[in-house]
């Protein structure tokens, strides 16, 4: 093949700086999207639980949109499409401030909120209705029953799926590169274009992704076992 590996070149100076900045951007997008997505998912689940057909339909439509449209396209819709709705002054300001990362966070957060709310819903549905009966029979109010009996079981049941979504979200941050966010895969491609060190540049980025992914997978396995709900 005649290819000379030169990891040293990539792992120092300017290139190392870029990799670290890329990793930082990846983590920023990941963490913010995760938090916003989770909070929104809880809200969506609550709204959907209220017996009011119009809002239930809206939430269902929201979920189906985000499940059936590719994540990349959702990013495009926000980055290209939303900017058109905003007035020019706002756009200029946003572009100065680095709007791409904001759009990426919004798109990923909404996408994850859709998937996670489905996981919560699934968790809620798998709880036997007799649990609510038992909780009410001892004298708990509806709210008390939800708080102390139903929801503690629901999140435990949804946990493995939620942790799965967390891993998917982390890997999904790589798509932000397509709208110009200088995250890890973007930097890897840039370094490769500048230095022609294909294997080194992509190799290091891949290794970083793998290390963090394995950490997430390991954490998921521990948490799933710890909070496993055995119903007998």
């Amino acid at each position: 093949m005649g290819y000379q590996f030169d990891f040293g070149r990539v792992l120092q100076g300017e290139y190392l700086q870029l990799i670290l900045e890329g990793l930082q951007a990846t983590m920023v997008v990941f963490v913010f999207s995760w938090i916003i997505g989770l909070v929104l998912a809880v809200a969506l689940t609550v709204v959907r639980a209220i017996e009011f057909k119009p809002t239930q339909f809206l939430v269902a439509a929201f979920v189906e949109y985000h499940r059936n449209v590719p994540m990349l396209i959702q990013l495009f819709v926000w980055y290209f499409g939303f900017a058109v709705i905003l007035p020019d002054s706002v756009n200029d300001y946003l572009n100065d401030v680095g709007a791409e990362i904001g759009y990426a966070i919004v798109a990923l957060a909404l996408n994850k909120a859709a998937y996670m709310s489905e996981d919560f819903r699934s968790g809620l549905r798998s709880i036997h209705p007799a649990q609510m009966e038992a909780a009410r029979s001892i004298g708990l109010t509806y709210l008390g029953a939800m708080c102390w009996v139903i929801l503690p079981q629901a999140w435990r049941l949804a946990l493995p799926a939620l942790l799965g979504q967390t891993l998917i979200l982390f890997k999904g941050t790589s798509l932000a590169a397509a709208i110009g966010v200088a995250e890890l895969s973007y930097q890897a491609r840039y370094i490769e274009e500048q230095s022609f060190r294909i294997f080194e540049a992509y190799g290091i980025a891949t290794a970083i992704y793998m290390i963090i992914s394995f950490a997430i997978m390991w954490l998921s396995s521990i948490l799933s076992k710890r909070y496993e709900l055995r119903v007998k």
């Binding site: 449209v69 499409g81 058109v84 996981d119 799965g164 397509a178």
Partner: protein, 236 residues
Amino acid sequence: MLEIIQEYWLLLLIGEYPHGKLGGLAMTLIISFVSLIVTFPCAVLIALARTGKPGIIQTIANGFVHSVRAIPLLMLIFWAYFALPMIIGFPIDAVFTLIVAIVIYQTAYLGEIIAAGIVGLPKGQREAAAALGLGYIPTTFKVILPQAIFNVIPGIVNQLTTIIKESSLGSIIAVSELSYVMLQVNSNEVTKPLQIFGILAAVYFVLCFSLSQATNWLERRISARRTGQVIVEAVA
């Protein structure tokens, strides 16, 4: 919005064919189906390795699946795009690198689904085959796999939906599938991104939503005739 469809519909459907390469929605569908077809036997092999006897093959299979699941598909696409021409010695069209990347990625995930199907079969199936004197190959290919695969058909169709969505990443390496074509239309039109990407989202939506409805229908039909229990978690 309708003007855009009216003006560009042929481009969106089949790209620049016959003046240039095939593209658009046709290309998306070709990429997706070819990927699924090529992935399928690989996924079966992975599933067999993972549910079979412990040993060097199972360890390699496990390692493969865990490693692939730890990498974003985009990175795999970059690897395939740059490394593949180098490895085989001559340049190849980006489409093939895209398909290779998707195949590698989905072999891991589809493999998991088929493995779940195998594991979900009643143990008695293997025992009955052994009692009849069937060896490993006939047992696997005539008894276990047909049932396992039948049971996970909904899961397989679901993965097709996922593959269709993943094909959109081709736009990043300039493969002329639907999303790339739309990006070109957008740079042409400039002032109508919301309509353009709205249409793009709508096309994928119709495609994937119909497939997921088909999946639900299949799930219902198969539940009635299924042997054993299959629990398949959401994979992406």
